[in-house]
Symmetry: C2
Subunit: 205 residues, 2 copies
Amino acid sequence: MEKSIKRRTTMNRMQVTGLELFYKNGYYNTSVDDILKELSLSKGAFYYHFDSKEDFFIQIIEQLVVRKIYSMLIEPIEGHEHTLDLITNCFENALETAVHNELDYGFVLSNFIGEFNGRNPEVMKHLNEILRIWEVTLVSAVQRGKFNGHIDRHVDAEGVAVYLMSSFIGIRTLMVETAPSARKYRFMSQLRQYFKSIEVKQSSF
Amino acid sequence: MEKSIKRRTTMNRMQVTGLELFYKNGYYNTSVDDILKELSLSKGAFYYHFDSKEDFFIQIIEQLVVRKIYSMLIEPIEGHEHTLDLITNCFENALETAVHNELDYGFVLSNFIGEFNGRNPEVMKHLNEILRIWEVTLVSAVQRGKFNGHIDRHVDAEGVAVYLMSSFIGIRTLMVETAPSARKYRFMSQLRQYFKSIEVKQSSF
DNA sequence: GAATTAACCGACCATTGGGTCAGTTAATAG
DNA sequence: CTATTAACTGACCCAATGGTCGGTTAATTC
């Protein structure tokens, strides 16, 4: 019976609140006390469960962020036919949560990359790992599309993946402050436009 | 003789070093002392010239960041003909500095947006202002292209602008850690692909 | 060359933040 | 019922940080 229910519950409460605050205020701008105050818990409780603030954060990434990103950005793309439709829907859904100002894991990702890049290699290792998996997923999705005859066979799958990741990360940054809904709509239109340009032309005669 | 030479020189030195460190370590993770140590100057000197750390930062944005972004991302686009070529070249150049790990103002921008969003409205005001100008520049560039007959007249200029900004901000984030040169190359290829899809088809008969 | 002032020094202050630890409480085992 | 242990408390430590202020130095002015 490794790790009792109570222990797990408390750790999870801390992680959930921690992620919320880290997302809102940034890692370096959120103190352990801030999180504890929110939960009416003490310093002792925190350091009983976690080794350090950094250890705490890495566990948040592994427990919460990775899983959520998997279910939002990875799994939905691992379907079979009509790759580009899958990706379109996936982005559509992921951005919709952003419109409603929910805790959005796509942005959490690019946010944290910005904050830790060049400062904390340990944390970056974990964030890069997520990016890598996302990239691999997209690349093989595109290759599948080429194989299935939906995507032009001259298309560079790696290129498409990088372009998709870029635009997604970027639109998430842009949606944070100004007119998220309008920007989402415009973004999705252009994404479809771009997709049309790499599709196999059905009737070009 | 408002603001003597000496004053200006010292302030500028502080700002340049400040931006460097803010870029490298983030705003909240860079102390005033860090900057001062670099320059062998004292606390007194700093608070003689600036009201606060925040005031200091805002002046950096206005003096250094805004101007640099103007010259890198705004002015090069304000040419006349062949809009899409202008934008392509502009992005190409801007990303090239990133490859060489130079202090890159495009990324500075998205970096700081991530750090200040929802935390410091005063600073965000300035950052959003830059984004707004960039957006306006891109929108009118596209409209010019439509007018000149280089861009398909059905194209949504605002949409293209948002899409371009997104992808640029995103690729800058992605280029920071992994294979910047390869990613830049792939990105530019896909950008050209996308541009082809909104160009006026020269010979569609 | 005395007076004024711009530019700068560095000791000091209050607060914050990560982390420690001796001790308390509550559940569980024997 | 007692002993043990898991879970948690909160006072304390210490280094760092933004900011203050009285004082010094060097350039300018008269």
